[in-house]
Symmetry: C2
Subunit: 354 residues, 2 copies
């Protein structure tokens, strides 16, 4: 078992057990438990959780539909209503059991119910294990704007059991890998080099541990996203806009899938800003495209992407600020980027990925 100390709570990583969770529940004396999850996870993973932690047999299950569309005010309202109906008090624990959608939504509902009740995250996806469950960012989407309503509230614990990865499709695994590639690209050249030669045989537990260690260092220095934590937004300004474009389509894009495209386009912008060399840009394109199959975004009007960026929660009035990379494994914050530069980078990307 690996234990990483974060902002007032521990992240534990185990490969086939939930012992640390079981201990946590023994020590803390909660009056009641609520488990937020989706129907797939309830079917595939809940039995394991209940066997590992018999205390949770009495927990109230709050079931939502899988997918980004559940990260909404409607479902937050459903959670609040269930907590009220089932007499949750201030000493109730909400257990977010699932992927990033679950921990973002559940974290927000818990942070705002009775001015804040405790919550923990038990991530079941690679994306949530390596990234989303850590750092206290909670949020819901509102009128198609990603995470525009939310808070920064730390969980009381993050309990990772990599056994749950076996329930994931290859597409879901790749979705999580996207954020791991981002963390490496922004913060660690050696880790990026390791990932360049990633194969199916690579141990996920190692990747997760490495990702969390890197991310944890950053968020401990800047929990409220005022400074260096913004480096982790690399790829997300463009990525969120693309994800939003597909949110109501018949085939929505997964978060990681959109972020990968964001990473590439923002790498191109970093090159335009002379922050990385041409060989570096080509290396990034080559590594990403050799490990991931990317969807074309050429049917989206570029003006539509730019409009979404302007309304992104990271945007500052009339000025578009990006967190870019400054060489591989390093970053530069708050770089002013013009609409023309974004347009140029997307056009470049669309010529390569058709």
């Amino acid at each position: 078992m690996t234990l990483i100390k974060s902002n007032g709570y521990n992240v534990t990583i185990e490969d086939n057990s939930l012992d640390s969770l079981s201990n946590f529940l023994e020590i803390k004396k909660y009056t009641s438990y609520f488990i937020l999850s989706d129907q797939n996870i309830i079917k595939l993973c809940l039995p394991h959780l209940l066997i590992a932690c018999p205390k949770l047999i009495t927990a109230q299950i709050i079931k939502i539909k899988p997918g980004e569309k559940s990260k909404s005010l409607k479902f937050s309202t459903l959670i609040w209503q269930t907590l009220i109906d089932k007499n949750a008090d201030k000493n109730t624990l909400l257990i977010n059991f699932g992927g990033g959608v679950i921990s973002d939504l559940g974290g927000f509902a818990a942070a705002t119910f009775k001015r804040g009740i405790d919550f923990i995250n038990i991530p079941t996806t690679l994306l949530a294990m390596a990234d989303a469950s850590l750092g206290g960012k909670t949020g819901i989407n509102f009128n198609e704007f990603k995470n525009i309503i939310g808070t920064i509230n730390q969980p009381k614990g993050v309990f990772i059991n990599t056994k749950f990865l076996k329930t994931l499709s290859l597409r879901q695994l790749k979705n999580g890998l996207a954020e791991i590639y981002k963390i490496a690209l922004v913060n660690s050249h050696p880790f990026w080099n390791e990932l360049s030669s990633f194969s199916e045989k690579t141990s996920y537990i190692k990747l997760i541990t490495k990702s969390i260690q890197i991310k944890n260092k950053i968020i401990l220095k800047d929990p409220f996203d005022k400074g260096i934590r913004k480096s982790l937004n690399f790829g997300h300004t463009i990525g969120h806009a693309i994800e939003s474009e597909f949110l109501n389509s018949e085939a929505p894009m997964l978060h990681g899938e959109a972020v990968l495209i964001g990473l590439l386009i923002e790498s191109k912008i970093s090159y335009q800003k002379q922050l990385i060399s041409k060989p570096m840009l080509l290396e990034i394109y080559s590594v990403i495209t050799s490990h991931f199959k990317l969807r074309s975004i050429s049917e989206i009007p570029i003006s539509s992407i730019i409009n979404r960026i302007k309304n992104d929660k990271k945007a500052s009035k009339n000025i578009l600020l990006f967190s870019l990379i400054n060489g591989i494994g390093s970053f530069k914050l708050d770089v002013i980027v013009s609409e023309t530069q974004i347009q140029k980078a997307i056009t470049y990307h669309n010529n390569l990925i058709k």
Copy 2:
């Protein structure tokens, strides 16, 4: 000008100026301003604000209806939508200009927009000046439950100009006095004695300053409402239930009006618990009824009040915990009170106040 240092921000009290606000706006470089207010305050007070702070001429005004019913998810959604539509960024300031409804609602919307933007409170009612604008409790009502959705987020400043009190009706002034009497009853016997001989000639600026000083000491020791801050809930367990009962009636009760009844009934419970003597209980009834005209609550079924208390956000599963007084000017937290005891106290009250 009196300046009181609170949790990372200053409270300034002036009797006919907003100089401290004007200085604050000069020092801080916000990209845009939004003023949340209601139609009465916009008419009566906004001109004074704009003359004192010409910087705010460009501010976007968000207008809501006066009254407790505006403290809802619907109006929080309206604020979020306006912030989006008018391109608010993370460096935007939301100015809560009005009474407790405005600062609770605006504080909640600001705390959750883009994971938290800055907000300040400019209270225009006695209740907000002496109590609500201080301490960072934000919240909205949800399905008739008072403040059940909310956060604890500190404002960046509270700017009190007692000139605005001149716009208030006697009923509104009394509404604010109620919370001042509560603070004295719970925390300061000498202040309670002063209030016992309160007359129309008493200086409000003195009362406000004293209230804030007492409340500030408490919230600095316990910002997250885990310990002694709960003493300030005295009168509110019963008070909130009564306020909720009248929320959808043709003549809603003001918050302070309900709290006064709560103070009396909970004083009776304190007496039942042998925390105060009979003469003290009679003194409290005498002082309160000589300064305030109380509405009868005898038409409300006692069982309905008890049901609401069970769902109050302060309630712990199956156990009803009250913050009571332990002599005048002192308190006892987390006292277990039975339904029978509540029933007895309400019946006693209804026999006295018909």
